[in-house]
């Protein structure tokens, strides 16, 4: 049984049944929710998720703020493309090689990438940790490089917010190696 998963499910249960507003039955609701969660994780077990994650509250808040601001910017950018007169907007599909090996980091980066400016994950190549990203409005080499830089920056923020120690070490080693290449 995975305790964090069961606790997460209990949290969802409490949100669904308005359990955080203090009432007579709140405690019973929590106990019942935890019981159901444990039962579900025992009856339908899932494989453990890789090396897991480690929450760093300050960096997580920074990440959330960054994604929120970027989401608003992205919406304005897409709005501009939608109403721009003339021929349809052109774009590029670019390859981004992530620097960490963890599945979880890959998933979070893909989800966040899809939510922020002009990027949408088309294809994932897991063994090589490559993401193929559709960048809206990237019409030249410079635009493609900007999109690639943005994706890597986002990965770094995510790893620094919720990555394990090993993920951060991977990231820093890869960044250092990349600098020597350049």
């Amino acid at each position: 049984m995975q305790l964090p998963v069961a606790l997460g499910m209990t949290l969802v249960w409490m949100l669904l049944f308005n359990g955080f507003q203090w009432r007579e039955e709140s405690l019973g609701l929590a106990v019942l929710g935890f019981g159901v969660s444990v039962l579900v994780t025992v009856v339908f077990p899932l494989p453990p998720i890789g090396p897991g994650l480690r929450l760093r509250p300050l960096n997580t808040l920074r990440l959330l703020a960054f994604v929120a601001v970027d989401m608003v910017m992205a919406s304005f950018q897409v709005t501009r493309h939608v109403f721009a007169p003339g021929p349809p907007v052109r774009s590029s599909v670019i390859a981004v090689r992530l620097r960490t090996d963890s599945d979880l980091m890959l998933v979070f980066t893909s989800i966040a990438l899809s939510a922020i400016p002009g990027s949408m994950v088309v294809e994932v190549e897991q063994p090589n940790r490559m993401l193929y990203v559709h960048a809206l409005g990237a019409v030249d080499e410079e635009g493609a490089e900007r999109a690639r830089g943005g994706a890597l920056k986002l990965e770094e923020r995510i790893v620094r917010a919720i990555g394990t120690g090993r993920d951060i070490a991977d990231l820093e080693a890869a960044t250092a190696a990349g600098r020597e290449d350049a």
Binding site: L16, G19, V89, I111, S114, A115, V121, H134
Partner: protein, 135 residues
């Protein structure tokens, strides 16, 4: 809660609802105006999600002062959370299938590193043309 505070919250809620509704409208217009599926996924994944989140915030501010018994803030948080988590996945799957079945327009892509990669893996040769993208 005091009367003026409720009034202020109501106004913020109204603004959030209006902004959210306009963003959803933008997403709808984008679906019509954009030429190909990959571009359309952008409107579905961004202004639409932000619009929905703003509408949820608006509803949350509106119902916070009174008890409705149907919705509560927890439900709204859950709706927002699962939208943000699942919409990109749906968009990704749609984009992937479109790409793999060749339903994309090459003339709208300036560079396409995925096509190059697929061609490379097949054993050299120039990138495959549209309609022949299956790996």
């Amino acid at each position: 809660m005091s009367e003026p505070l409720v009034a202020v919250l109501d106004w913020i809620a109204v603004l959030c609802l209006l902004a959210g509704a306009s963003l959803s409208l933008v997403a709808g217009v984008g679906l019509v105006r954009f030429p190909d599926l990959l571009s359309r996924m952008h409107t579905a994944a961004k202004p639409q999600v932000l619009g929905l989140l703003l509408v949820l915030v608006g509803i949350g501010l509106r119902i916070a002062p009174q008890e409705t018994g149907v919705f509560n803030t927890g439900t709204l948080i859950l709706v927002g959370l699962f939208q943000v988590l699942t919409v990109p996945v749906a968009g990704h799957i749609a984009a992937r299938v479109a790409y793999r079945t060749g339903r994309i327009r090459d003339d709208l892509l300036v560079t396409d590193e995925l096509a190059e990669r697929i061609a490379e893996r097949r054993g050299g040769g120039p990138p495959a043309g549209a309609g022949d993208r299956r790996v």
